[in-house]
Amino acid sequence: MSDAPVPARPAGTIHDLGYKRYGGARLAASTRWLVIMRQQVAHGWKTWWRFKAALGLGVIVTFVAGGVMFLLQDRAVKGVVLPEGIAATLTDATLPRAMQWYSRVAFLVSLTIGARVVAGDVQSGAFTFYFARSVRPRDYVLGKLAGMCALIAMIYVGGPLLLAIARLGLSDSTDELIAILPVIPKALAMGMLGTLAFAAVPLGFSALVHNPRYAMALWATYYLIVGGMAWVLSRITDSGIAALDLAASLDRIAYYLFDLQVVWGRSKRIDPALALGSVLAHAAAAIALVIYQVRRAHLSGIGGAS
C-alpha cells in the first residue's frame, strides 16, 4: 500500500485562467453562408419595425383568409372559374386570392430590409468586416439571399401552407381530402417562388446604387410604377407585357397552380409560363447583379480609398 502513495489532494488550488489557444478545427469556408444567413434573420427579427410588423400583417392576412374560407365556404367568387366553367367558391379560391395580399406584405419587408442590404453594407463599411475574414463573395451573396429568403418565407410560405392545411380540414369526405391533397405541394411551390422573387429582386436593387435611399426609391418605383405601367400597357395592347409586373405574375401563377381560370382582373393577360419565366428571369438578373457588385467590392477589399 505504501508503495503507491495516493497523491495528496491539495487543500486549495489556483486555477490558471490564462489564455487557451483554440485547438479545434475551423469550419470549412463553405459553411460561412449559414452564419451570414442566421445573422440576416436575427437582424430582421430584432426590432419591431423591420420585420415583426410585417409578420403581424401576414398573420392577419392568414387569419382573415382562413376565416373567409370557413365562414363563406359556398359563396361564389367573381372573376375566376374552375376549369369546367363552374364559378369557383371561396373554399377553392381563397388561397390563390390571398397570394396578392401576401405579396403586399412581402413588398413591405423587401422595402424596409431587402432594398438596403448591399447598399447599407457598402455605406457602413461592413464589407471590410466581412472580407478581412475568410468570407468569399459567393458566401456573402448566398448568405444574404438565404437570410432574406428565410425571412420572407415565414410570411410567404408559412401563410399559404397554413391556408392549404385549413383547406384540407374543410373537405367533406376522405375522398375529397385525398383528391385535394396536392394543395399542399402547390402552396409550397407557390410560396417558394414568391419568396425567391421578393428576396432576390430587391437585393439586386440594393446592389445597383451605393446609397440605400436611392436603392429603396428605385425598387419602389420598379415594383409600383413600372409594374403598374406594364399592366396598363398589357390591357391596352392585349399582350403579355404585364408579366413585368411581379405582383401580377405571381398572382397569375397562383391561379394557374390552383386550377382556376381568371375571367377578369389584373393577371388575366399573362400566360402562366410567361409569368413564371418573368419571375425567374427577374431573380436571376438580380442575383447576377449582386454577385458582380460584391466581387468588385471584394477586389477593392479592406481599408481606405486607394
Binding site: N211, Y214, L218, T221, I225, L233, I236, S239
Partner: protein, 234 residues
Amino acid sequence: MTDHRVPGSLETVMTIAALTWKRLARGRALWVGVIISSLLVPFASAVRSSGNAGTGEELIMFALLTLAVVPPMFVSSSIGEEIEERTTTYLWSRPVPRWTVLAGKLATLVPVTIVLAVGSWSLAMLVGPQRPPSPESCLALAAGVTAISMMAAGIATLVPKHGMPLSICYMLFFDLPIGAMPISLSELSITHHVYTLTGMFRDGATMPRSLLALAILCAVWGTVAIWRIRRLEV
C-alpha cells in the same frame, strides 16, 4: 478684406442653390430622379404604338405616382443626409440665417423636380396622345412638386434619418387614399388638389380653391421645416 461683410439673404440663397445644384449634378441622385421621372415617356410611347392614343388620364396617374417618389428622394437626401452626416456644421458656423439654407436647397430642388416632372409629362403627352400638354396640367404638376417638396422638407427636418421612407409612405398610404375619399378630408390631400388643378377631372372643387389649399399646405409644412431647422443643434 477685414471689412466683416455679412452676406445678404438673397446672396446666400443663391450660393446655397448653386452648391445644391453642383452636388446634385455630380452625385447619383439626379440620374436616379431622371430615370424615375422619364419612365413616363417610354410608357406613353408604348401606349401610342399600340394604337391607343388615350387622353393622358392614365399618364397623369403615373406622373403623380412618380411625384410620390422623386421629390421625397431629392429633398430628404439633400436635407436629411446633411443633418445626419453633420455637414450642417459647415453651414451653421457661417454668418447666415438658417432659413436661407433651407430656401437655397429648395430653390434648386423644386425647379429641378418641376423641370423633370413637367418635362417628362409634356414629352409623354407629345409622344403618346400627340398633343401639347394643357397649361393647367403643367401648372398642377408644378404646384404638386412644390407642395410635396415642402412636405418632404418638413418630414426630413423632423426625422432626418427616415425622412424618405416616411415621406413616401405618407404619399402612398395617406395622401393618395384620402384624396380618393369623397368627404372633405380630401382637402388635406396634395394629390387630390393636383388632380383638380389639371382640369382633367371634374369633381366640384374649383381651381383657385385648390391652389389656395396647396398654398396653405405649403405654408404649414414650410413653417414646420423652418421652426425645426432653427432649433436644430449641430
